[in-house]
Amino acid sequence: MKKYIQDFDVVENKRLNQEFVVLTLQHPYQLPEMFPGQFVEVKVENGPNTFLRRPISIHDVDREKQQIKLLVQEIGEGTQLMGQLQPGDKLNLVYPLGNQFQISPNDKVLLIGGGCGIAPLLFLGRHLLENGITPRFLLGARSKDGLIELDEFKKLGEVYTTTEDGSEGTKGFVIHHPIMKTQTPDYDQICTCGPEPMMRVVAKYAKNHNIKCQVSLENHMACGIGACLCCVTDTIEGHKCTCTDGPVFDSTYLKW
């Protein structure tokens, strides 16, 4: 897929809570084709300690408005600077990067997200719906406040939630939700993105139930385009780049 380097205009910065913002970025020309699971490499300006670009998933795409959305969790200097962007600011992106979630027409899909890992699932859900598949979402967070963008997800399909403190949905981790407890799951495909321990548990569950499971990894990256070999993950075929062979992998392909 052809990659681009382009300046986008920040048109909105919507703060969801203390940690999360959604940035809406607009481009003057028509956007290239993008797929769920792909990401952008953001250049963070004016950060004394931010040197490399930051990889961020494509959260949503509105082709008519020529806009893309990024969901950013502020965890360090680079993401904090992104969180401060205001309409009128510019943001330089290298995109679209990486592979995509693979879905076949008759799949019954459960999308499982935690933390900022819910980012690619909104775009994926929209894509599934456009292709005649009604997605279901299982989203986990520490507490109620961390369950973000629920209204957006609810527009696309059914949403189940878990919180560690029980302030909303089932108490516990995603794996404790009743939908993960049934002996005969009514879905045959899981797509998951979130903290690695969560994805490992989900992958193990999927394996035990003979369900196909795709996981989206967040390895540290330098180039994002396959040039530096810094972002590798261990697979049954040796080291593979998360930025070009991934970030989405079939969980059985990984050495987990």
């Binding site: 052809k2 990659k3 681009y4 380097i5 250049k43 300690n49 931010t50 040197f51 490399l52 670009r53 290298v94 390895n219 540290h220 990256m221 330098a222 180039c223 994002g224 385009i225 396959g226 040039a227 530096c228 070999l229 810094c230 972002c231 590798v232 993950t233 261990d234 040796g238 080291h239």
Partner: protein, 287 residues
Amino acid sequence: MTASGTFGYGEEYMDFYDINCLGGIVVKGTTLHHREGNPYPRMAETGRGMLNAVGLQNKGVHYFAKEIYPRIKDFGTNILVNVSGSTIEDYVETAAAIQELDNIPGIELNISCPNVKEGGMAFGTSCPSAVAVVEAVRKVYNKHLMVKLSPNVTNIAEIALAVEQAGADSLSLINTLLGMAIDAETKRPLLSTITGGLSGPAIKPVALRMVWQVTQVVKIPIVGMGGIMNAEDAIEFMLAGASAVQIGTANFVDPMVGSNVIDGIKEYLERKGMNSAKELVGGMITD
């Protein structure tokens, strides 16, 4: 030129600009046999730079010749192969295999990789071993032999001179500086290998100093690198005595940097009323 390990095989950057405008591309470190490289994590961002510990992951020279060379051999720029090894025999055999590839005008002998357990940098940090590997490769390789020097030495001029006498056609410097990083919260190293190679703007002053020191003692051309982010940086290296430059880590931040540096140098030459970049070489004014 673009620096080894930072520009893939050039293909990764073709969407961004016409890579044929470059003076050359030095492709990834290539060894005799397949290498998986070091475990993840292999990189850590540091102030104005980064540490890497890739460890020469590559599929070996025969795979390169069979699978990759046909894809890149007709690029309209010079493709140099960065050659690495654990033993002198490895280097010789790899160089000999590349000698057979018509469209590869030269190799860059990497005697300075800090990220492999045996060989690599060990060759480039003492005069006798550097001389031994360069002499051995020179015997089997009759195209352009560029030797890449390690900055992790006490006296780089001494090694440069020894390598020149051993038959190198040009020198490139610097490779990465040995460094490390620790996460204070978790008390753990940020790299799987604990130590790794530092690159990017943070190393530029060291690199400039070394290029200048080396140009004082050798006659063969010097290719300077270390932290070049823009045309001004590149010009500084040429003023210090480099005949050409390589750009490494900057490609990650700005995939268009290669073409931007070329345009910037042209603009500088015009502004200063100079006819050719050659006039810049060694042009630092000290009086």
